[in-house]
């Protein structure tokens, strides 16, 4: 039996939910960032699955753009994390809960 489209969609939903759980649970800001990347990858899997089952290349192009945006977001997000760490000396999200330094 070949893997059906719904199998891929279910796997993507499970990965996305695990990513959401990680963003909520984790206190380290870099670990939260990694769970966001996990969510992005789950959505990428949905796009590629639809692209292959509908024989349309648009899904894969969107995945390409999403990967580019994720790389740009990684660079800027980690720069922000480093800047926050310089000021607060702590990577705990609960310590950065107010905007005042």
């Amino acid at each position: 039996m070949e893997p059906q489209l719904s199998w891929y969609l279910a796997l993507s939903a499970i990965l996305f939910t695990i990513g959401v759980t990680g963003v909520i649970i984790k206190r380290n800001v870099i670990a939260m960032f990694m769970c966001i990347e996990l969510m992005l990858n789950a959505v990428n899997l949905t796009f590629v699955a639809f692209a292959s089952f509908f024989q349309d290349v648009t899904g894969q192009l969107f995945v390409f753009i999403v990967m580019t945006v994720a790389a740009a977001e990684a660079a800027v997000g980690l720069g922000i994390i480093i800047a926050i760490f310089r000021n607060r000396e702590s990577l705990d999200v609960d310590d950065a809960s107010i905007l005042k330094l």
């Binding site: 719904s6 939903a13 695990i18 984790k26 292959s52 290349v57 790389a71």
Partner: protein, 221 residues
């Protein structure tokens, strides 16, 4: 056979994803996330998307995760300590709500009509690099160009965030024209293989060291 491969890669992806969330050391989370990326790349190959699989490994596992590991090493992140008891009750609530979400999505997927088209049947041409390239540069040219501007914005933003102080602060260690010479180049009486460093702090000083400014010295004399 394909179903067995799918179950293998899916189990690997879910296991590594659970490890990302459950591990307390962020470095172990990063390694598990690389495992997720590689198993997803295998799934992309099964879905007849070889270009996306290669880009996934190169960009995600090879660039983004390396950057994250560098930042973890740079900031010397330790393990998460024992959780404060104030919000501890929310963790099982989060797990329960995510289980509810999975159940809802599973219900939707079970009631969706199945498609007959298989990704690798009949020489499908969708994921081949040439078809992605021809679509990217004809029909989707505008998103491509906008993405390049987005990358430029990311570069400028990352440089601005990583800079200490304002524009060219006195503590900035980057001085235009600062260079390093070997002593044998600068001192005519040093041995030819004397490679001890002589530091010049500006182009003017470097020119003085190399003896190239006789014209200026004569003018000011």
């Amino acid at each position: 056979m394909l179903a067995l491969l799918f179950i293998l890669f899916a189990a690997l992806a879910i296991g590594c994803a659970l490890a990302v969330v459950a591990q307390r050391n962020p470095l172990y989370s990063a390694i598990s996330l690389i495992g997720v990326f590689i198993s997803l790349a295998c799934l992309y190959v099964m879905l007849a998307a070889p270009f996306i699989a290669a880009v996934q490994v190169i960009v995600y596992a090879g660039a983004i995760m390396v950057l994250v590991v560098f930042v973890i090493m740079l900031l010397n992140v330790e393990e998460e300590e024992h959780r404060r008891t104030r919000l501890k009750f929310l963790v099982p609530v989060a797990v329960a709500l995510s289980a509810v979400l999975i159940a809802e999505v599973a219900f939707i997927l079970v009631s969706v009509q199945e498609f007959r088209v298989s990704p690798t049947a009949g020489g499908s041409n969708v994921g081949v690099t040439s078809s992605i390239g021809s679509a990217l540069f004809t029909r989707y040219l505008l998103p491509f160009e906008i993405t390049s501007i987005l990358l430029l914005m990311a570069i400028v933003g990352a440089m601005t965030l990583a800079r200490r102080g304002g524009l060219l602060s006195p503590n900035a260690r980057v001085i235009p024209g600062a260079q390093l010479f070997a002593r044998s180049m600068v001192d005519p009486m040093a041995a030819p293989d004397d490679l001890r460093a002589v530091e010049a702090d500006s182009t003017q000083e470097a020119a003085d060291l190399l003896g190239m400014n006789r014209r200026d010295r004569n003018e000011s004399a």
